[in-house]
């Protein structure tokens, strides 16, 4: 995972609330077994018409948002399905940060796991950024995790709060599994203490006298 400390990029506005992961990446693209290559399918049904041509009114198809790497949107972004393909598609398309008044829990975790900064700002700040992204395009923002701020280099600076651990993992690009494996002794101790509850009837063990279905 690529560390995220500070990033400056063009802002693409998606002025909608409750964007679900079915919109971010529709289900027909979840059958692949690879982790890469999902950017072409990002927002597929909004981006392309029935015959496959780009819809000119959709933000990502507009020339002024070409190369955008910061997405700004409204509340509850990423609700619905747990598909991490949503985060993979955003990252593969080129987005490094998403700004919104709130995020769905599983999406936020998936973003964290992939080094995408899902940053919560106030609804008023999002209002301003959405307007500027539309009126001043190409509009650039710097997302600075070190300083916990979003700024446009002129008069907009917005501070944000972020959990220290999340911030550290993003900034260092840490392998979460490696972090947990530091606690191998604790995990083994838990398993010993819970051995009776975890093993005697577990479904993968041989069973002398199975229950009747």
């Amino acid at each position: 995972m690529e560390p995220f400390r500070t990033h400056t990029g063009i802002v693409a506005p998606l002025d909608r609330a409750d964007i679900d992961t079915d919109q971010i990446i529709p289900k027909q693209f979840l059958k692949r077994i690879e982790r890469a290559g999902y950017g072409q399918f990002l927002f597929n049904d909004w981006r392309y018409s029935e015959n496959g041509s780009p819809r000119p009114d959709f933000a990502l198809n507009r020339v002024e948002y070409a190369g955008a790497s910061v997405l700004v949107t409204r509340r509850n972004f990423g609700c619905g399905s747990s598909r991490e393909h949503a985060a993979w598609a955003l990252l593969d398309y080129g987005f490094r940060a998403v700004l919104a008044p709130s995020f769905a829990d599983i999406f936020q975790e998936n973003a964290d796991q992939n080094g995408i900064a899902a940053i919560t700002l106030g609804a008023d700040e999002i209002d301003v950024i959405l307007v500027r992204a539309a009126e001043r395009a190409p509009y650039e923002l710097t997302v600075n995790l070190e300083a916990r701020s979003v700024a446009d280099g002129s008069d907009l600076t917005a501070a944000f709060e972020i959990d220290d651990f999340r911030r550290m993992c993003l900034m260092e690009g840490l392998d979460r599994i490696g972090l947990t494996l530091r606690y191998e002794d604790d995990i083994s101790a838990y398993e010993r203490a819970m051995a009776k509850a975890l093993s005697p009837n577990s479904h993968n063990s041989d069973r002398a006298a199975p229950n009747q279905p």
């Binding site: 409750d18 829990d105 606690y183 229950n211």
Partner: protein, 475 residues
């Protein structure tokens, strides 16, 4: 969790399950929870196994991990080859991974195959007090047993495969207490749709909901699963219901569940899981269900819902800007006009199934309406049982005959048209009364329009050819 860590003070069900799963309390980092059951399916696992292999790691507890194929499987004749080669490769990948990492797979031809959230409970794998995860947001279903159960992404699936643990910040707790008298016509689906309509699709973000009160206590296990299943649609991390006598009775004699003598020794421990008198929640919502009615969605998220006796709402009257804009877009997508009575909306398709409403009680509810009646000539209707076991049970009761005689297609088990990853999809513009859980744009097929309903209303709509109150057609 406002009561965590206070020794001797009253605790919630969430506090108790959290503490019993706690491997290590985090200091400046998340707590580490042990995962007692990890459910795996074909769609969200290939990249997790790939990562595991690339790092030279193994599955820590294959004995606490179980896999099935559900999302992609065709629901037609299982003897036929899978024509979608990409889907076929994904299922084969799960077979290879299960073999390589020593995980039991309930494959497409296994008599125990089915939707992962249907088979966990029916096999007796889901038990009170557990921490359960799966790379699927409807893992919240298992909360019906008082197990803390939540959906995770693929990176977290890999994490759990490797460590059998999941790092988690303690969530906030939210009580939703249902009171009053539940009208006979109000199903479990109507309860949860009514709740989501009031709480909103982001109303419970960051929270674990515990459903409490006499209405909940009186529900069967299958009804409780329907309620907990859709907790995620209110944004909740998970839904919980305290285990009780109904829970133990359900667990008795399950194939992979506790044996009878073991169950007797577990019940006293499980009784302790109930929220203590005087424990506090971070939020509490009390709803009187006495005036609740059968529900149907009109829009493109599950919170856009009205009673079947109501009309398509006028978005101009919605105060909140985001909600108004969302409603305006939803009506355009759904091709509906404000003020149209819900009962005047014609439908093309009916889908009965899913992890929300694909269990045998759901099929009984629909069959009771269908018995002796015929599906409307303009409607294509199908039933997809939630599991092979549900299908067998329904057939033993003759429900399949009721469905077939009414003109429904009787299919094999899987997720099917709940998300349309397999060939079961809506065509563009088609309108469907569906017992599934999400009415998002394109969810059941690009351009398809979904109205979420309970099984009785789905059956009633199939007969009438339009959305209708099942009370008009009671058996």
């Amino acid at each position: 969790m406002s009561n965590a860590g206070l020794e001797g003070s009253p605790r919630t069900l969430l506090d108790k399950v959290w503490e019993s799963g706690l491997v290590r309390a985090g200091e400046g980092e998340p707590d580490l929870l042990y995962v007692h059951l990890h459910l795996v399916h074909e769609v969200t696992s290939p990249q997790a196994f790939e990562g595991l292999a690339a790092a030279g790691r193994s599955v820590r507890r294959p004995d606490l991990t179980i896999a099935t194929v559900d999302h992609n499987v065709p629901t037609t004749d299982r003897a036929l080859p899978v024509l979608d080669l990409v889907a076929s490769r994904q299922m084969d990948t799960l077979r290879q991974n299960a073999d390589r990492f020593g995980i039991r797979l309930l494959d497409v031809d296994d008599p125990r195959q089915g939707i992962v959230h249907v088979i966990g409970p029916e096999l007796g794998l889901t038990r009170p007090g557990m921490v359960i995860v799966c790379g699927d947001s409807h893992t919240s279903t298992h909360g019906a047993f008082g197990a803390l159960s939540f959906g995770i992404g693929t990176s977290e699936v890999e994490h759990v495969l490797a460590t059998q643990c999941i790092p988690q910040r303690p969530p906030r707790s939210m009580e939703i207490r249902l009171e009053g008298v539940r009208p006979d016509s109000v199903t479990a689906k109507d309860l949860i749709l009514s709740i989501i309509g009031r709480v909103g699709v982001s109303g419970a973000v960051g929270h674990v909901i515990e459903y409490t009160g006499p209405i909940i206590a009186a529900l069967s296990m299958e009804e409780r699963m329907t309620v907990c299943n859709m907790s995620i649609e209110a944004g909740a991390r998970a839904g919980l219901i305290a285990p009780d006598d109904t829970t133990w009775e359900y667990l008795r004699g399950r194939e992979m569940g506790p044996r009878d003598h073991e169950l007797e020794s577990l019940i006293p421990e499980w009784r302790q899981l109930a929220t203590d008198e005087g424990a506090t929640f971070d939020r509490s919502v009390v709803l009187d269900v006495s005036a609740f009615e059968p529900q149907v969605t009109w829009g493109t998220n599950p919170g856009m819902v009205v009673p079947i006796s109501g009309s398509v709402p006028d978005f101009e009257l919605i105060e909140d800007t985001d909600a108004r804009e969302g409603a305006r877009r939803a009506l355009a997508y759904m091709d509906l006009e404000a003020g149209t009575p819900m009962e005047a909306i014609s439908i093309d398709r009916v889908f009965i199934g899913s992890c929300t409403n694909g269990r045998v009680e759901d099929l009984r509810e629909a069959a009771a309406i269908l018995s002796g009646r015929r599906v409307h000539e303009s409607v294509h209707a199908m039933v997809v049982p939630g599991s092979a076991a549900v299908k067998r049970q329904a057939e033993a009761e003759g429900l399949d005959q009721v469905f077939r005689e009414a003109g429904f297609e009787w299919r094999e088990a899987g997720c099917s048209m709940c998300l349309g990853m397999n060939p079961d999809t809506l065509d563009p513009g088609q309108r469907c009364a569906s017992t599934s859980n999400r009415n998002f744009e394109g969810r059941q097929g690009k351009g398809g329009r979904t109205h979420l309903v309970g099984p009785a209303m789905a059956a009633a709509a199939a007969i009438a050819g339009h959305l209708t109150d099942p009370r008009n057609l009671s058996a």
